[in-house]
């Protein structure tokens, strides 16, 4: 029997990889690689992949393809869309940054981002734990390299730390895959679910599998206590990479986590929700509190991303469609605001010799009113203040959690967002209520990232006011078949 090969559902991944290889060849053989060509290629790849993904939305056909290793559902299409958007923004940012400071330029950035994105897209669609693992490795390895791509001192340190800890945690993840296999004789998500629904014979191994997988995912989404790498890596990596990484990794890992936990281990939800509650509680508290003490904005945003992981987990404590929807909405929101915030940080950094401390934001309100305004929107959204998308996102995850009876967790989340508001507000304080110091090298702000950030800010507000724009899509995407 020859398996039916339907490559349609993985067309976006294939396109990304293909163009990635093309870019690689260009980099290898061109005498002087040109950022514009790389950028064009990459954006083209993203655009084409997006079209391919869009066409999959209305796809009719079997739910699982390619030997049941890939799920062809709207859930993965949505993930693809978000991830492509993140890649798009990341490439734009990097191109602008490289245009400003040629010493930062590495042509391989673009193929790597495409490969990473293909891994992320795949991880969200993977219906087999081993494929999840492989995709995870693709994106991880790409990101390790991207983190250190400039070769600067801090970047290489970040890269080393990220790599060592990443490899360490993927060992746990792999162990989890092994345990799942041991428990159910399969690594197919759907098969595991079916196996676990039947009897409780090998429950112990399944639980261990859940634990190990939670560790692996926890690391990727930077949930406490597996978050330790996050601040160092976010701070050390070049800002465009941080922007891309913070948004895309989290989205990809969470989508995979949702599929694994809410489908494969759905029968064990009673057990894993407790774990998720604990991780969520720890993440929101530790992320929010530790961010207070940070003086570097990138580092602060890193801790905030830890807290946001906690909020997504809060939504996932509801092991039902509502929980999935809320988490997806939160991820969309988070991607928008974190991409925007890091974009602004990058633009500020450009005028401050690469520094990103709070002081470098002093007086931004008068120096660059638009930049400050954009940053304010993102910060308020991150803090969950209406009428931004961050607020609606928080409400939806808390609704899901409360609907599942986890109101103490919701309360904790809301209270810690007060703590979080403190450090977001502090940036605003610096921007609007402090005088700028020193004479900054006022680099001209490149247009593309500014426009991008502007669009993101507009999205932040529009989705904050009209969250229903996403409702239908999320409704469709939250249906996970098995």
């Amino acid at each position: 029997m020859t398996p039916e090969v339907d490559l349609g559902p993985v067309l976006p991944e294939l396109l990304l990889v293909a163009v990635g290889i093309a870019g690689l060849l260009y980099e290898a053989f061109a005498r002087r690689s040109d950022v514009r060509i790389h950028l064009t290629l990459a954006l083209f790849a993203v655009a084409v992949a997006a079209v391919a993904a869009a066409s999959l939305w209305g796809r009719e056909g079997p739910a699982f393809v390619l030997g049941d290793t890939v799920a062809a559902d709207r859930f993965s299409v949505l993930a693809t869309a978000i991830l492509l958007a993140a890649a798009f923004v990341g490439c734009l940012y990097y191109a602008a940054e490289a245009g400003r400071d040629p010493s930062l330029y590495r042509g391989e950035f673009f193929p790597l981002v495409l490969f990473a994105t293909s891994g992320m897209v795949l991880i969200a669609a993977a219906n087999d734990l081993i494929l999840v693992f492989l995709a995870l490795e693709i994106l991880s390895l790409s990101l390790y390299v991207l983190t250190g791509i400039t070769g600067r001192r801090q970047a290489s340190e970040a890269s080393l730390k990220y790599f060592l800890l990443g490899a360490f945690s993927s060992a746990f993840f792999l162990y989890g895959v092994a345990m799942a296999y041991g428990a159910t004789a399969s690594t197919k998500v759907t098969a595991i679910a079916n196996a676990l629904t039947g009897t409780g014979d090998e429950l112990a191994l399944a639980l261990v599998a859940v634990a190990f997988l939670a560790i692996g995912f926890g690391f990727k989404v930077s949930a406490v206590p597996f978050h330790m790498w996050t601040p160092d890596v976010y701070q050390g990596a070049p800002t465009p990479v941080t922007a891309y990484m913070s948004a895309a990794t989290k989205v990809a890992a969470f989508f995979a986590l949702i599929r694994v936990f809410d489908v494969a281990f759905q029968p064990l939800w009673w057990d894993w929700t407790v774990l998720v509650v604990a991780l969520a509680a720890l993440s929101v508290v530790v992320g929010s509190v530790l961010a207070i003490a940070q003086s570097d904005v990138k580092r602060m945003l890193a801790f905030s991303s830890v807290a946001h992981a906690g909020f997504v987990l809060t939504g996932l404590t509801a092991a039902d469609a509502a929980g999935i929807r809320s988490a997806m909405f939160y991820l969309v929101a988070y991607a928008i605001m974190t991409l925007g915030a890091f974009g602004v940080v990058m633009l500020v950094e450009a005028g401050r010799e690469g520094r990103t401390t709070l002081r470098d934001f002093a007086g931004l309100g008068t120096r660059r009113p638009w930049l400050a305004a954009l940053m304010t929107v993102f910060l308020l959204s991150l803090a969950g203040i209406p009428p931004t998308v961050g607020f609606i996102a928080k409400v939806t995850v808390f609704s899901a959690a409360i609907g599942a009876g986890h109101w103490p967790l919701a309360l904790l989340g809301v209270l810690t967002s007060v703590v979080a508001a403190f450090f977001y507000l502090r940036v605003i304080v610096y921007m609007y209520m402090r005088q700028p110091e020193g004479d900054p090298v006022e680099a001209t702000v490149p247009g593309a990232p500014l426009v991008t950030a502007g669009v993101l800010a507009a999205l932040t507000l529009v989705l904050g006011v009209f969250p229903s724009l996403l409702a239908g899509i999320l409704e469709e995407a939250s249906i996970l078949r098995w």
């Binding site: 029997m1 020859t2 398996p3 090969v5 990889v17 990635g20 290889i21 690689l24 290898a28 390619l66 030997g67 290793t69 890939v70 010493s103 590495r106 391989e108 193929p111 790597l112 490969f115 293909s118 891994g119 795949l122 087999d128 081993i130 494929l131 492989l134 995709a135 490795e137 693709i138 390895l141 790409s142 390790y144 390299v145 250190g148 791509i149 400039t150 070769g151 600067r152 001192r153 801090q154 290489s156 041991g182 428990a183 090998e202 429950l203 112990a204 191994l205 639980l207 261990v208 003490a293 003086s295 570097d296 690469g354 520094r355 401390t357 709070l358 002081r359 403190f422 502090r426 304080v429």
Partner: protein, 199 residues
């Protein structure tokens, strides 16, 4: 005592001992060699478990290629003397060992509950391995797991790019001292910053 039992009880201690050896060796080369021993023991275990193909791959790829690469890098960097083995982190070692013991204990509990220490492998694996481990394996690999197999190629490309990117030489930018000074200043400022209660 059946042969496989004997083999197990001979190689299992060796593998553990070699792993421990790797942990305690001062010299990186010695440690690497212990790891080779360990990998070999695991290969033997594969054989015990009727995975002859993996046994071969383990020895060729792991003990052979990968470890050689390791040794090559160790020698290339010539760094062995540069790294101290003194523990500078307070409580790191005891904590690591304690946690590892706890980890093993937990696993023990789980395995006992999940599999049980009296459960033997079911008979009839020969049937599965027809017409031979390698062929049977390739059946599964290329029928059921052909897509992941293709995906691994992407993984390897990424690895190649990584080597390409990281092998280049880089130029320094802002010095660390500058950044440190700047950060110290800001940190200091934050101590007396915004939300300080009124004097």
């Amino acid at each position: 005592m059946p042969l496989d039992n004997v083999v197990f009880w001979v190689f299992a201690p060796i593998s553990i001992a070699s792993a421990v050896g790797m942990l305690v060796m001062r010299n990186a080369i010695h440690a690497a060699l212990f790891l080779v021993v360990n990998l070999f023991c695991i290969a033997v275990m594969f054989l015990l478990l009727d995975a002859s193909f993996l046994f071969a791959v383990q020895i060729v790829v792991y003990a052979g290629a990968i470890m050689v690469l390791f040794l090559f890098v160790i020698m290339l960097l010539g760094v062995d003397s540069g790294v101290s083995v003194r523990e500078r982190l307070l409580g790191q070692r005891p904590l690591a060992i304690a946690l590892a013991v706890a980890f093993i204990a937990e696993l023990f509990v789980a395995v006992r509950a999940g599999i049980g220490f009296a459960t033997h492998a079911p008979p009839g694996f020969e049937a599965v391995n027809q017409p031979g481990n390698t062929q049977a394996l390739s059946e599964v690999l290329f029928r059921e797991y052909f897509f992941p197999f293709e995906v691994t190629s992407v993984l390897l490309i990424v690895a190649a790019i990584a080597a390409m990117v990281l092998a280049r030489r880089q130029a320094p930018a802002v010095t660390q001292a500058e950044l440190e000074a700047h950060r110290a200043q800001v940190t200091d400022e934050l101590e007396h910053a915004a939300a300080e209660p009124p004097a």
